[in-house]
Amino acid sequence: MILQILNRTLRVAKALMTPSPANKDVRYEAMHNPSRYRGEHRVDYETCIGCDSCNKICPTHAITMKKFPFKKQNIVPEVSLSVCIFCGLCEDVCPTKPEKSIILSGGRYDMLSGGWHEDQNDFWVHTDVPQSYIDSRLEDEEATRVKKELATKKKVAEAEAKKKAEAGEEIKKVETTLPDFNKGVLE
């Protein structure tokens, strides 16, 4: 019995020979870096189509959709890191191809904030859309709107012209004016 105990005791001492696996300073680097680590989100506002499906599937309601003044694809997800449980369902469900618009994989793991409830309240992955992008989107939209307007007007005019022509009246030129670009759009 006593010999057995001594034997066990000495065998434990074998651990002294094995080097410890704690060989990195984990304050600065991770011990294991998987490619699919579900960490901090990255949202690509340019490819996002604003389908709202990430918001719908989120089991913890961590995602809110930020609204933009332009009309189409005008919502982009923002994630509250203090609510998110990093399950990655939003990434799974995102329909954009080939790159998903919301990505957790390979994200950062060290997400720290102040401990006050207020600090955690505004602990978000904000989708910072630059003003220039908003402006360009607005301009694009305006341009397409105008184009469409023009096209419809033209169509209407043509149709009318056709009618008139059929009726044997004189063809009048349709005057079109371009609307003021920057007015009344940003409201």
Binding site: A62, L81, S82, C87, W116
Partner: protein
């Protein structure tokens, strides 16, 4: 004289002992952080069996209604100066259990923490980094958050 006091302040910051108290699942990752691979003892952290000798209280995730009095009492039993670390989504608003009524939705409003570590559960690396931030806070001489406010002061427990 000033130097000696500085030394004690530094010592305080470099030696964080935590109360052995787990309220939820994040304590599993805390155990991993104690384990051989992450080994937080390298940085001077040490678990203590009783709150009387602890400096840091870890809110390890979920705080259910039933355990709240025990949590606050554990906090009260710790000697000054004491700090609180909150980890996991649960300690902000119940996290995945937000829809459930048996958990406290605002643990950090009741007991403000000094640092919040996001994740469900956070990686051990993140836990250690969060504790490093507490160290930094002590080095800067900042008072702990819970001593400055929080609903716990108005509550009985």
């Amino acid at each position: 004289m000033l130097k000696i006091l500085d030394f004690f302040d530094y010592a305080k910051s470099e030696s964080l002992w935590m109360a052995h108290f787990c309220t939820g699942c994040c304590s599993l990752e805390m155990a991993a952080a104690m384990g051989p691979r992450y080994d937080w003892e390298r940085y001077g952290y040490l678990p203590t069996p009783t709150p009387r000798q602890a400096d840091v209280l870890m809110i390890t995730g979920l705080v259910s209604k039933k355990i709240l009095p025990a949590l606050l009492r554990t906090y009260a039993q710790m000697p000054e100066p004491k700090y609180v670390v909150a980890m996991g989504a649960c300690s902000f608003d119940g996290g995945p259990y937000n829809d459930s009524l048996s958990v406290i939705k605002n643990p950090t409003e009741i007991l403000p923490a000094d640092v919040f570590i996001a994740g469900c559960p956070p990686k051990p690396e993140a836990i250690i980094e969060g504790l490093e931030q507490v160290k930094q806070k002590i080095k800067n001489g900042e008072p702990s958050a819970a001593s400055q406010g929080g609903l716990w002061k108005e509550m009985e427990f």
